[in-house]
């Protein structure tokens, strides 16, 4: 009886497993960010481009990526992404494109782009369930051997199925992926591939990115810098940031023989003193095999983590884009009149996760979202927030995102921006962390953790102050120009009238009147009070001091 029951249960489990991958995928498309025809297309582009950028960076190659989107029919597109990366082998192709959730990115405490989305394998799956077609791959390492193949995923086994494998002799280095999708749509909106790639280019100035639109229009975002960013370091998790679930997962992967050595080797800032402190206060034997760690045991450990005063986590694993790089990049792509960039020092949220904030405020030029063309033929622009998490653009769920909330919490009037929503302004915000706290599995909005909000606000105020000085200066300049023009308009008639009555030479009167106006405007400028330091300054100073303490 009991044997039979067990068998049945196993059978059910087996059956469930066989269907699970494809089913899970279909049922959870929403959770994976695959809602909406436009958003899905952008997500696909994101997955491929991210893989290419990460691969190039790891191989220390300056990325050159070309994305081509072809319209094959109604809501039916073919997407081709070509890179100059290190290429893939037959085995790595399978892992990268033919197996869901197989990435190496899980459980790595490392700042990486690919924390978002469905992965390139998800695209393979999406292509096959919407069109029944395989994805085509051509890849070479530059050594003269190139492989070409077609790949699908066996939904029962969650294993790659490779077909039409061929070897070619070509000096090609890089990877070309071509896949077809239905139920997607290409438009030109803020959430579409073009804007996604523009922002990717801004956050990755070392990459050259080309988009060929369905209309055959070719848009190139040129490389502005030729040095490859340093690789982020993998950092062990900090005890303060670990959940019970994560502790158990880590214990399963551990090479340690005892719980005590597992803890010491797996966590940042975990010394002998802390381990013995934990040993004293837990009910189980710390010498037991970490793979045997139960949920209750893990709960006890996490509780102890909370009680012990650990040194703040290392932050040296983070790799910001850097002020100079952001400046060059925004200058080249947004061409603003003024740019203020701030990269803050790294700090920590929730006690355990290092993170860092970078802000760029671009004003004038092509900064801001282009709107309608006004009477004078000038494109009117509105303020835009460009959100990035680990350099990857966030295009969706902006309202629920900590970055948006932080930007909106700032009193921009203080910085000379009167009509903030309609200011020709782009606010670039890059949040980097080994673990970005997203609000949902869709990974498009950052949760408003108090530490993150605080740091975002300080960074915005710092760069806002710089921008504010420019904006009010510019406004003064405009006002001055306007006044000058106004006075000058009335000079010739005034001079002529006086000449008619007195016969004093009109041109001399005109000249002297002009001098009088210029002198008056110069005096007015001198009398203008300088920008008052912001009342928010003290908070900023306080924040800095606290950080110094933490870092030490």
């Amino acid at each position: 009886m009991s044997e039979e029951q067990t068998a049945t249960a196993e059978e059910i489990a087996k059956e469930f497993k066989e269907h699970s991958v494809a089913e899970f995928f279909k049922k959870n498309m929403q959770m994976l960010g695959l809602t909406g025809k436009i958003k899905t297309l952008t997500t696909i582009v994101h997955e491929y481009v991210t893989n290419s950028l990460d691969a190039c960076e790891e191989a220390k190659i300056l990325p050159e990526i070309e994305v081509q989107i072809k319209e094959l029919g109604a809501e039916y597109y073919e997407i081709t992404v070509k890179d100059n990366g290190p290429g893939l082998t037959k085995e790595t192709v399978g892992k990268a494109l033919g197996q869901l959730l197989a990435g190496t990115k899980f459980h790595r405490m490392m700042q990486m782009r690919g924390q978002q989305g469905i992965g390139a394998a998800g695209c393979t799956m999406l292509s096959q369930i919407t069109t029944g077609k395989a994805s085509q791959v051509i890849t070479g390492s530059g050594s003269g051997k190139v492989i070409s193949l077609e790949i699908t995923i066996d939904p029962k086994k969650n294993q790659p199925k490779i077909g039409n494998l061929a070897e070619l002799k070509k000096p090609f280095r890089g990877t070309i992926i071509k896949a077809k999708f239905k139920g997607v749509k290409y438009v030109n909106s803020e959430q579409a591939p073009l804007e996604y790639l523009r922002r990717t280019a801004i956050a990755n100035p070392h990459a050259q990115i080309t988009l060929i639109e369905p209309s055959n229009q070719k848009i190139v975002f040129k490389r502005t810098l030729k040095d490859i960013p340093r690789q982020p370091l993998e950092i062990k998790p900090h005890p303060k940031g670990v959940t019970v679930d994560e502790l158990i997962t880590l214990s399963k992967y551990s090479d340690g023989k005892k719980v005590s050595s597992f803890l010491k080797n797996s966590f940042d800032r975990m010394g002998d003193k802390a381990v013995s402190e934990i040993a004293k206060n837990v009910s189980f034997d710390m010498n037991k095999d970490p793979k045997q760690l139960t949920w209750d045991d893990a709960e006890e450990v996490v509780k102890q983590f909370k009680n012990i005063a650990f040194i703040a986590p290392r932050t040296d694993g983070l790799r910001p884009i850097g002020e100079d790089r952001i400046k060059k990049s925004l200058s080249s792509i947004v061409k603003p009149e003024f740019l203020s960039v701030v990269t803050r020092k790294p700090t920590v949220y929730s006690g355990g996760f290092p993170f860092q904030v970078e802000i760029g405020i671009a004003y004038g030029g092509e900064a801001g979202r282009a709107g309608s063309v006004n009477e004078e033929g000038v494109v009117e622009r509105k303020m835009e927030i460009m959100r990035f998490a680990n350099r990857a653009p966030l295009l969706f769920d902006s309202g629920g995102c900590a970055i948006t909330k932080a930007v909106q919490s700032i009193d921009w009037k203080r910085y000379g921006v009167k009509d903030f929503e309609n200011a020709p302004m782009a606010i670039f915000v890059n949040l980097i962390s080994v673990h970005i706290p997203y609000t949902s599995a869709g990974k498009q909005a950052i949760s408003d953790e108090a530490d993150i909000m605080e740091e975002l606000r300080l960074a915005l105020m710092e760069s806002g102050r710089k921008a504010g000085a420019y904006i009010s200066g510019k406004k003064r300049e405009q006002e001055k120009k306007m006044k000058k023009e106004l006075f000058f308009k009335f000079i010739p008639e005034t001079a002529n009238a006086l000449f008619q009555i007195t016969k004093a030479p009109a041109n001399k009167l005109e000249k002297n009147l002009e001098q009088l106006v210029l002198e008056k405007l110069r005096l007015e400028e001198e009398e203008e009070p300088q920008e008052q330091p912001s009342a928010e300054e003290p908070a900023e100073e306080k924040g800095k001091k606290e950080k110094v303490k933490k870092d030490g």
């Binding site: 308009k489 009335f490 005034t494 009555i501 002198e519 008056k520």
Partner: protein
């Protein structure tokens, strides 16, 4: 005291000054400004402050007078620059009129000076009120009146009745205003004694009428002859020349002035301007106001007394606003006018002169006016 002395001086000087002397005054003013420019000073001229803040109602003389507050107009003031330029243009133009011995209407001045400024879309003057206001500034700035600047307003107003005038500037023509046909005499914009002389007045009073139509009705009914009256129509707000003439007839012939307007705040305001002067020309009230003038009608009492309830009209928003303002004017602070204004604000109705035709065409001439004048049924 100082103010009074200045005014006295102004009058006497004005009477004597010839065009060349006035032109010299303008030149002195312009030279002062040129000097400012060449010595790096803000180009400036002074004029009298006008408007409510500097207008007083004199309880002694019962007319509006201008206070002694002066104000400066500077070029280097973003709000004044255009006005400054405009005033210089008007000054230059009037200067040339004086030298060339020409006169022009203020509307002609406006059109002579109106053009676009350089390459801009802006005009030197957008409408006549702008040039008119420069003329007033200039009058005060060089202590004169526009007549002496060889400027005049558009003539408006008609005179009819047994009064003999002589036009000294036109062959010494001598005429009786009851012998010029039904059209009467068109009142000139300049009726200064050196141009128009009042020879003889046989009429017993002057009846000032707001509308041309009512004037024509009364002429047709033979009202002037039957009642031995002089009729003057203002055609709305009384022009400068008309006010000056009413003032002169009243003063020189010593006969009463009665005023007959529509029964609404606008008509009553026309009356008050004839009686005690206007804010805009408060400086010249001594020449123009007739503080002894009396108001015949129309009044809201008339509506009841003559049974005109069916021919009243609704007051417009502008009327209501004006009535409310008038309630506060010092020269309406008597119980009769307060009552009348309040009544109009209560009932929100107005009555036109011509509504009297509801009784019969001749009703106004045969009954309404004679009855009121006989009973001295006036408002102060």
């Amino acid at each position: 005291m100082a103010e009074k002395k200045k005014k006295g001086k102004k009058k006497s000087v004005d009477e004597k000054m010839n065009p060349k002397e006035i032109a010299d005054r303008l030149k002195v003013m312009a030279e002062g400004i040129v000097k400012d420019i060449h010595t790096n000073k803000d180009p400036t001229f002074r004029t009298m402050q006008r408007g409510k803040g500097n207008v007083e109602f004199s309880e002694d003389t019962k007319v509006l007078t201008l206070g002694d507050k002066t104000t400066s107009r500077n070029f280097l003031n973003i709000g004044h620059a255009k006005k400054f330029m405009q005033t210089m243009m008007v000054t230059s133009k009037t200067h040339s009129y004086l030298l060339e011995n020409k006169t022009a209407s203020i509307r002609e001045v406006y059109y002579e000076l109106k053009h676009t400024l350089g390459k801009s879309k802006e005009n030197t003057f957008e409408d006549q009120t702008e040039s008119d206001s420069c003329i007033v500034d200039l009058e005060h700035s060089v202590d004169t009146i526009r007549e002496k600047l060889n400027l005049h307003a558009n003539p408006k107003g008609t005179l009819y009745g047994d009064i003999t005038l002589r036009d000294k500037k036109h062959f010494n023509d001598t005429f009786n205003a009851s012998k010029l046909g039904r059209g009467g005499w068109s009142i000139m914009s300049r009726v200064e004694p050196e141009e128009i002389e009042i020879m003889k007045v046989s009429a017993e009073y002057v009846l000032v009428i707001e509308t041309e139509a009512m004037y024509e009705r009364l002429v047709e009914e033979g009202f002037a002859k039957k009642n031995n009256a002089i009729l003057i129509s203002t055609g709305g707000q009384a022009a400068r020349g008309t006010r000056r003439l009413i003032h002169r007839i009243h003063k020189e012939a010593n006969i009463p002035v009665y005023m007959f307007t529509d029964g609404d705040p606008y008509g009553w305001y026309i009356y008050s301007v004839v009686k005690q002067g206007s804010m805009a020309l408060a400086a010249h009230s001594d020449f123009m106001a007739v503080p002894d003038a009396r108001y015949i009608g129309m009044t809201l009492e008339d509506v009841e007394e003559f049974g005109l309830e069916n021919v009243t009209e609704k007051m417009k928003d502008g009327d209501v606003k004006r009535a409310k303002e008038m309630l506060d004017y010092p020269w309406f602070q008597n119980k009769e006018w307060q009552a009348e204004l309040k009544k109009s604000l209560n009932l929100k109705i107005r009555i036109e002169q011509q509504a009297l035709a509801n009784k019969s065409l001749s009703f106004v001439a045969d009954e309404y006016l004679p009855k009121k004048i006989k009973k001295k049924d006036f408002l102060p």
